[in-house]
Symmetry: C2
């Protein structure tokens, strides 16, 4: 295996990272099995603590299940909206935050907290490393989708207990991400919440320190 990537390959990697978006507007077109297979394979190539591969991928196709998930989102979102006041509340209400029913597919990514357990290399003093491994799988899936022209949106406005019940997760398995997945008319040029003026981009120089917190390069 060569260390090197040529300039075209590097640019493709940086492009997919730069152009990945949280997508909430979908077309109905189904995702071919081959494309979905590549996306899931990429997810499974994520790093995992102690090679524990704690992830599973539930492909949620059934519209009845998705309606229940959407209902759980609606309830959680109603509660969430109350936390933003005045103009901010109005802006919140104007945002489209999910595509549960209009995307071709939903995928629930889970983490099995007992896989190859109870003692897992690398989790002995940081027990949440397994959750982080599953998140890396989500990010791989997201990037793979982007290079296939497939949009992904992560819905986090759902009570995890409700989601676990709807997905029939056994004891010890927790939901990490509920993803809306499908083709889209277009990937936005920048994050929608930035464009909408919800929050500003934090400058590079404020995010990088040297040797300890607060020490600028």
């Amino acid at each position: 295996m060569s260390n090197g990537f040529n300039e075209q390959e590097r640019e493709a990697v940086y492009r997919v990272i730069r152009e990945r978006r949280d997508v909430r507007r979908f077309k109905a077109d189904l995702i071919p099995e081959s494309v979905l297979g590549r996306m899931l394979t990429a997810a499974m190539q994520a790093p995992s603590v102690g090679y524990s591969q704690p992830w599973n991928f539930i492909l949620v196709k059934d519209l009845e299940v998705r309606r229940k998930v959407h209902e759980a989102f609606r309830r959680a979102n109603e509660e969430a909206q109350k936390m933003f006041e005045g103009e901010r509340g109005e802006k919140y209400a104007s945002l489209k935050l999910e595509g549960i029913l209009d995307s071709a597919l939903n995928i629930c990514v889970t983490c099995d907290r007992n896989r190859f357990g109870p003692v897992v290399l690398g989790r002995t003093c940081q027990p949440d490393m397994d959750l982080y491994s599953a998140v890396c799988a989500v990010q791989n899936l997201w990037l793979a989708a982007r290079c296939e022209g497939v949009g992904v949106g992560w819905v986090s406005i759902i009570e995890p207990e409700e989601l676990s019940a709807l997905m029939k997760l056994p004891e010890g398995v927790v939901p990490i991400a509920y993803l809306c997945v499908g083709y889209t008319d277009g990937f936005a040029p920048e994050p929608e919440l930035k464009t909408a003026g919800w929050l500003p981009q934090v400058p590079f120089s404020e995010l990088v320190y040297v040797n300890q917190w607060g020490s600028k390069p």
Copy 2:
């Protein structure tokens, strides 16, 4: 922004995902500022809940600080080793699990749990979404490094409290990942823990369900 990636671009994306490795053996060569800048920029292009960008990147160059981190690793690893018995304990002891002192650079990725808080869009009922955003940044950095021929290894065998103290993190900021970063003689053809027979690869078919947990496609 075009939806489409051509076949060469797609192959580059899948290649970087497939050939990313947890690297523990490094060369001393310094990483040029331009390369490091691209890696950090890629990290900051990760998805973040409510566009909260909760990450910071502490570039740990000082050898004195790194010696203390290595000492914290050594203590945690001594405790960890006791949890694996017999042949498994011997195998554990034979594994090289970090490159804190022999890599060109260490990077501590943190999560500021109060950034743009207290109420963040998307964290109202899943408060750990900010931690997951920071993990996505780690994965972006890791992939960017790989396409630059730079190795990254995630050291999770350190007590988080000790790491926080060494990095002088303020209240409300938590360490997510301590990374060893540097050029390497070679990326292994497959995960080292797989090659070493530590754990087997879980087959694709065992990881994918439809509509609910346990239901095979």
